[in-house]
Amino acid sequence: MLEQELADSDSEDDAINALTPAPAEASDAWDARPGRKRLRTGAVAAESCPPHPGFMHGMCIRCGAVLEDDEATGLALRYIHSGLRLSTAEAERVRQRSMRRVMDSGKLLLVLDLDHTLLNSTRLTDVCDEAGTLLDALLEREARAGAPPSLHRLAHLNLWTKLRPGVRAFLEAVARHFELHIYTHGDADYARAMAALLDPGGRLFAERVISQADSQQQHVKDLGVVLGAEAAAVIVDDTAAVWPQHAANLLLVERYIFFPACAERFGSTQRALLDEGRDEDPARGMLAAALRVLLEVHAGVFAAREGDPARDARVALAAARRRVLAGVRLCFSAVIPRGAASPQAHALWRLAEELGAQVADAPDEATTHVVSARDRTDKVLWARQHARFAVSTLWLHSCGVLWCKPDEQDFPVAEQRPLQLAPVRSEAQDLAAAMAGAGGGRGWASKPL
């Protein structure tokens, strides 16, 4: 009797033999012994293993062979399953396949950041009493209004979360043209909770929620784990420094800073929206601008034929950027120090060219705009005389952020005093602040660089 054998047997192997299904020929073929980690080429579907395409808990996903010990090779895809790793070749295969699949269905990949892009979170403890009262009132007002609330108090995560105005409509609209991914530097619990807030039905993101622990490198986001081909992917993020490899795919957005604690973190002179008692206008805000650009990129990519180098999200994104100030010829006044060695290297000059404007040293017949940091310079006076636009540098910044040409009348050159600019922060400081803010500043990602 089986029970008898088991009770008698001392060694583990005997016990297992007793468990192995009876017919001898079958047990040879399907011998599976627990605890044995010897590499074994299986009788099943061993078409072309090795090389093994990937591993699940150290077990080949094609032939079932178990590795001697967990070799840390290939690409870990922890957001799909904690034990899943793919070999480099397999990851590339999946990437190409998914690009073909997505493009065939008329879509592109879109990778979205959470913090300061789609929403803003802060710890309950970081909210002072005064702000807390305001938030409670807002919470109540939204509950009475009946519409899906934008402010959430997540006691289990110890967080206040404010969704960016219009974010749900934004996601609905882009989901028709893109396959959406979340990629955050918050932890997995946070990412899942936020995905549930943004997409209560779970239709938009499915399993494509990538959090901090899934990245290959600390503080760096990588399209590799997204399994997205670069030619088909657009990234929407507020921090450029986390995407060092993929700047060409990045649509940089203005930070959404609702809570005062977050404004302090970035050291910006701009006050948090809660302090100012206002919120972004969903119709004219950053997300509306981003949506417009994304649709433009989508149309641009699919207007190009198969095999055309323009059938590339990076190319379409750069083209959309160049169209912002197409036909504009501008010159700077009181912006670049006179006699600077290479005025072309100035950030504003580069920005203007990136946006498709022509930049000249001096005003001429074709000049349309004079961008000035001070009023009553020679060039500004020239512009007024010749009925050309004289605008402040803020106008150019707005063009860069909103991807459109805002009304020049709203940006008159500043009187006398130069524009109060935020203290210049290095990219590393900015990155550190963004990291500290990830996941609402719950501390997981906020290790010093």
Partner: protein
Amino acid sequence: MFFHLQLEREIELQPKHFGPRLAEILHKKLRTEIEGTCSGRYGFIIAVTDILNTGKGTIRDGTGSATFKVQYMCLVFRPFRGEVIDCVVSSVNKVGFFADAGPLQLFVSNHLIPDDFDFVSTDEPAFVSADEEVRVQAGAEVRMRIVGTRMDATEIFCVGTIKENYLGVINPAAAAVG
């Protein structure tokens, strides 16, 4: 595959339970401690079916608790390489899909899904056959063959295939996963 085994386990009981209901409490404690656990040696212990012998308890020095060597019959579930098993798909992604067979989790990579199945992510992610007749999506019942098992002390994980005759979706309209 299921087995009906006789196993033994030491159960510790506090002195407050020493009374007329001792046997009852002992049995209850055995069930809560053992049912639903996984042993790397025997597989998942599904249910205790019978308690054969509790023996005489031994009082432990110092604590006053008693330990009983309980012999019991139980139903165990242990997957084998080569076994064909029916599962419910729990999630689908571009690399493959996950399925559950009771407590056991299985993964089928897209290498082991027939070549005419394509991954689609519009609406619910699924692998769909070329004629669009068959959908492998969350909630579907699938018959697969196990190609590999990984058994640790507390966990079992399997890799399976549906790329063989008579394998694949057997009931597309299964109840949604809960």
